[in-house]
């Protein structure tokens, strides 16, 4: 019953925003909304591995770009059918290509999921830090591959000419927005289902004590690989429509550190233990960034995100959701839990060496 209510509410909220933006007749709302939704997907995807399993992925940009560039590759393939296909197949290819965006999203998800599986298989058997480092380096390497791959534009980048309108909806950006809205609902639903399933409990045992979990017969490596694959695939799915949104894609923007830092900062600031955290973090930070980019500058808004990330991990390790929960509990029956005041004073009195 609660699940049904959840889907009903999320679809209603999305539909309301869509109707509101349409009523205003302002395309900018769709452009900005698309970015925020994209961050909801990225943050939720990151949290499936980072928040539930406790493994840090620094390669969000790599997975995102893998999805984006698989779309670019298919787009280029569609543009040059007569050059790349023998005549007998050209007719068939014309019928299939160019692929509609939902299909591109599935393909982008597959590509990014496989990359996640591969990286995970090589590094997840070792300590968690090695996986984090490998994902960090993965972004650099994939970028090198793309820069050297002329078919998708190399370092010059690729132009994607998107159709000016689509049937039924009319404007293309509204179509993209709707696609991303559905994707965001799917991502949150996946996170929510995982959280309440056996899989989610398995993930939680890995996060809390991996050795103990292993000793109790939890197949930790398999679970970690599942988490990496799902998380990577969702990130790739978020990236797949991106070339059509931006119109011109070059490696520097597709692999931008902003995606990585945002997809880590949003769950960390929102709270990593449940699906609500990334959603809250992405909505707050995404909207804040849209406002800051317009009013101040894009470099300053990244600085704000970085400082918020550092501040939250030091001061509020449980994020906004954790703060709210603590606040609610504080107003309830008085326990012996430390208040923020006593906590702060213990922090100020801390000396190195004091245990």
């Amino acid at each position: 019953m609660r699940s049904f209510l959840f889907y009903l509410v999320s679809i209603l909220v999305g539909a309301l925003f869509f109707a509101f933006a349409r009523w205003l007749g302002n395309d900018y709302l769709f452009f900005a909304g698309y970015t925020v939704l994209q961050f909801i997907v990225l943050a939720t995807a990151w949290n499936i591995l980072g928040g539930y399993c406790g493994y840090v992925n620094f390669g969000s940009a790599a997975f995102f770009a893998a999805g984006a560039y698989s779309s670019v590759a298919l787009h280029k393939l569609a543009a040059g059918i007569d050059r790349y296909f023998p005549e007998s197949l050209a007719g068939l290819a014309h019928a299939i290509l160019p692929l509609p965006i939902p299909v591109l999203i599935v393909i982008g998800g597959l590509v990014a999921g496989l990359i996640g599986l591969g990286t995970g298989y090589l590094t997840l058997r070792l300590r968690g830090a090695f996986f984090a480092i490998a994902t960090l380096a993965l972004a650099v390497v994939l970028q090198t591959l793309i820069v050297n791959w002329d078919f998708v534009g190399g370092s010059r980048g690729a132009y994607i000419i998107r159709p000016s309108d689509v049937p039924i909806l009319g404007s293309y950006i509204e179509y993209l927005f709707l696609v991303m809205l559905i994707l965001a609902v799917i991502a949150i639903a996946v996170a929510r289902i995982i959280e309440r399933s056996r899989l989610g409990f398995g993930f939680a045992t890995i996060r809390d004590d991996e050795v103990a979990a292993e000793a109790c017969g939890v197949p930790t490596l398999r679970l970690k690989l599942v988490a990496t694959t799902i998380s990577g695939a969702l990130m790739g799915m978020a990236g797949a429509p991106f070339p059509y949104y931006i119109g011109y894609l070059e490696p520097g923007s597709a692999f931008g550190l902003a995606y990585t830092v945002n997809s880590i900062a949003m769950p960390m600031i929102g709270g990593t233990t449940s699906w609500v955290g990334p959603l809250v973090g992405a909505l707050l930070l995404g909207t804040l960034q849209q406002i800051a980019t317009v009013t101040i500058s894009s470099a300053v808004n990244l600085l704000i995100v970085g400082l918020l990330l550092v501040g939250f991990v030091i001061i509020a390790p449980k994020g906004i959701v954790g703060l709210v929960q603590d606040f609610m509990r504080e107003r309830g029956p008085e326990g012996s839990r430390p208040t923020w005041r006593s906590w702060l004073s213990s922090f100020a009195n801390m000396r190195p060496g004091a245990r």
């Binding site: 830090a129 984090a132 990593t272 550092v310």
Partner: protein, 289 residues
């Protein structure tokens, strides 16, 4: 594909490897010995480069000399970071996930601040030796590579002496093995770790000066070094400084050969390949047991 080219590529690789050793030694100390995954290390190296650049532009002092003068400042910076890290993560046993996010935040904030102040233009320094090259027959030894390489090996030699001969140095090597035993030797593990971490950040000042002598620097250059630094560190067996030097030379040679025979745009991918292969087949490193 001539013999000259091959020899020159090998020598360039060795010189590059000497420089990589200086870049990596900080991570070998923090990650290898202390188990603190300081992924922000390359950002501090870039910070060192920019300090060398500012002093070189305004006062005309040699960049490497500047770095040596800046050592105390970097030591204090490292000390401050460790205090925060210890208080917020290590003491509470939350060092894995949040500690990583903390260092990633530091990396990002440092980079964005440098971009805000200096922009994304490439900056370079001036020093008498930068444009000179020694020639021995067909072998070229550019001084801008040779000076960092030699000085870097000197720095690693001094650190190795410090770690093997002094009480605090040996305590640092011991802190990763047995903290209780260290306590019984009247050494406070948190203090020892703070000293070691401060030293690791101090080496970033020197490595940063080497970097800006070797190539022009802009704020995001540091990111290329993350994969490289950890590849060398893991390949070198995490906590051994001689292992770091050998692994750095090896990676330098592989990168130099790749750049010579396949083109420089492929070089960044090499370190990742080395890292993945090492993790998959020999996670204990070259010299590991």
């Amino acid at each position: 594909m001539s013999f000259d080219l091959l020899i020159n590529a090998l020598i360039a690789g060795i010189l590059l490897g000497g420089f990589y050793a200086a870049v990596t030694v900080g991570v070998s100390i923090s990650f290898g010995i202390l188990d603190i995954v300081n992924i922000a290390h390359p950002a501090f190296i870039i910070l060192g480069s920019y300090i060398a650049y500012i002093v070189n532009q305004t006062l005309g002092i040699d960049p490497i000399l500047t770095a040596i003068l800046a050592l105390p400042a970097f030591y204090l910076l490292g000390s401050a970071i460790y205090k925060v890290y210890y208080g917020a993560f290590e003491k509470r046993g939350q060092d894995s996930l949040r500690g990583l996010a903390f260092f990633f935040g530091l990396l990002f904030v440092t980079e964005v601040m440098l971009i805000l102040v200096f922009g994304v233009d490439y900056r370079y320094v001036q020093a008498a030796y930068i444009d000179q090259t020694l020639h021995f027959g067909f072998v070229d030894l550019p001084l801008r590579m040779l000076v960092p390489c030699v000085l870097s090996l000197v720095m690693l030699g001094l650190l190795q002496l410090y770690f093997s001969r002094t009480f605090i140095g040996r305590a640092i090597m011991a802190v990763s093995q047995d903290q209780l035993a260290l306590r019984l030797m009247a050494a406070d593990p948190a203090r020892i770790k703070r000293i070691a971490f401060s030293i690791s950040i101090a080496t970033a000042a020197i490595a940063g000066a080497f970097l800006i002598v070797i190539q022009p620097v802009e704020p995001s250059v540091g990111r290329e070094y993350i994969g490289r630094v950890f590849a060398i560190c893991v390949l070198g067996g995490l906590q051994s400084l001689p292992g770091t030097v050998i692994a750095a030379m090896l990676l330098g040679i592989i990168e130099s050969l790749t750049a010579t025979f396949y083109g420089p745009s492929w070089a960044p991918a090499v370190s990742f390949g080395v890292l993945l292969l090492t993790l998959a087949f020999r996670p204990a490193g070259l010299l590991g047991r």
